[in-house]
Amino acid sequence: MNKMMRRYVPFMKAGIQTLITYRLNFLGFVIGGLIYCFVMFYLWRSVFESNGGGMFLGFSMTDMVIFLFLSNTTGQLIFSSVGEQIGEEIRDGSITMRLLKPVNTDLSYLFAELGEVLMKVIVLLIPMVLGLEIYRFCVTGTLVFNPVNFLWYLLSAALAYLISFRVNLCFGFIAFYVKNLWGIGILKNSVIGFLSGSLIPLAFMPEGLRVCLEYLPFASMNYTPVMLYMGKYAAWEILFRIGLQIVWALLLFGLSKLIWFGAIKKLCIQGG
């Protein structure tokens, strides 16, 4: 264990460094996300007003605000660009340097990203949760923050990140065939955004679609942790959802390994 940490902690430090170096670009994306949240906030406020106030399909306006901002933050936390990175390294040949190192390739990517995630928890998640709870306190007049739910959220978000990492790894193999990484990135974000319920709560979707999406891995990537934070699940359902996340994490782990071993045998780098 100790040996392993010694081996991978430098990757984590490198990840933190990367985020600090590109902090302005990171800030741009955070602010872009917040703008989107505010547009949605006004849209929902207008929807609630047109609906005569009160509840909308089991959500109050306060719920909606928490949902919007927390799913956006969760989206930032679980964001993984490992697929694009592998595609890039294959193209310029630098992946050979990684393969030569006496480390597990997956883990070296994972730890580099974990460094970024750690920074995001400190600079994004904590201020966001504080802000949301202050907002909720101002609106409802009582302190509703539930530390148990928050712990469930953290556990579930960690699993969500692992799933997102594996999904991205699988997605990244498309980069072997297509050069338009920018287009693929947009495609990935909007498809995952929709399927994961982070744009529209799954609870608002037609029954059949909702049930399907709840079982797909995408809901595990964002919707599950946010719902856990909001305390929308009963006790047995919490365990069921977390269990489902674990199952998906394992399945996708297997799938990405399978693709990786298939691809690595065919790896052929031209020039460099």
Partner: protein, 263 residues
């Protein structure tokens, strides 16, 4: 003028050849933006299963506003996508030198260099929504409203382009301004929905400071109500020309401040 047109055609032809070479890329790009749009529209559908009207607008009217807002956005995306690259890396890597040593206007060269076909996603959705929503949106169709609205579209696209020129030009001073383009451009989200749903400070922001409201809502409102052309059509022309003038000024200042980076 003729020379400029000829150069533009040559550069655009090069772009099209590149597209034919990487057909799969072109498809992924266009499909990606199409799906991105589909999600936005699905959202409106789901809202309207529960409520009859949003801030006084019917389902078709909201779709109309949404669709209209995508056309100037797509037009700008089609023609001036290379400005993103100026902000993100062309200046930082010192590659901007190439634009300065050629006998054509650098800004024109930057813009003419890329013909971004991904924008078809936005244009197809925008036009599709207008066709779908028009019959039931209660439009005031007359020669004037239609003609003025069509004239206004390029000016609305110019608002996007000007904001991009201005923010991309900041890279001449700070090397990489991609994140600033991202932030300012991101405000176009506000253009997709009726501006009346926002609170007063936001409305002032998107009308007078980063005037995306003119690229969608105000223009649609003119077609929907037939009133106030001076504010909507006149507004978009005035605002876009003023912004464009400012952006040219910033760009010019920027180029004289540009120092090539060693690579």
């Amino acid at each position: 003028m003729r020379r400029i047109w000829k150069i533009y055609r040559l550069l655009a032809a090069q772009n099209l050849k590149r597209l034919m070479e990487y057909r799969a890329d072109f498809l992924t790009g266009a499909v990606s933006f199409l799906i991105d749009q589909a999600v936005g529209i699905a959202f409106i559908f789901i809202i309207f299963t529960q409520i009859p009207q949003l801030a006084g607008f019917t389902f078709e009217q909201v779709l109309f506003i949404y669709g209209f807002s995508q056309i100037p956005k797509g037009l700008d995306h089609l023609l001036s996508d290379n400005l993103w690259c100026v902000g993100y890396f062309i200046v930082r890597k010192g590659d901007f030198d190439k634009y300065l040593i050629r006998p054509i206007n650098p800004l024109f060269h930057v813009i003419a260099e890329t013909f971004q076909i991904d924008a078809m996603g936005e244009l197809i959705v925008g036009i599709g929504l207008l066709i779908y929503a028009s019959p039931n949106a209660g439009l005031h169709i007359s020669v004037w409203t239609v003609l003025l609205s069509i004239i206004a579209v390029p000016f609305a696209a110019l608002i996007y382009t000007s904001l991009k020129i201005m923010t991309a030009a900041l890279a001449f001073w700070i090397k990489s301004s991609g994140f600033i383009i991202q932030m300012v451009y991101g405000m176009n989200e506000f253009a997709k929905y009726p501006t009346t749903i926002y609170s007063l400070p936001v409305r002032i922001l998107v009308t007078y400071i980063i005037p995306f409201a003119f690229t969608g809502y105000y223009l649609s409102l003119y077609l929907l109500t037939g009133s106030d052309p001076w504010f909507s059509i006149g507004g978009v022309i005035l605002v876009s020309c003023v912004l464009f003038a400012i952006s040219l000024f910033v760009w010019k200042k920027g180029i004289s401040a540009y120092e090539s980076a060693g690579a």
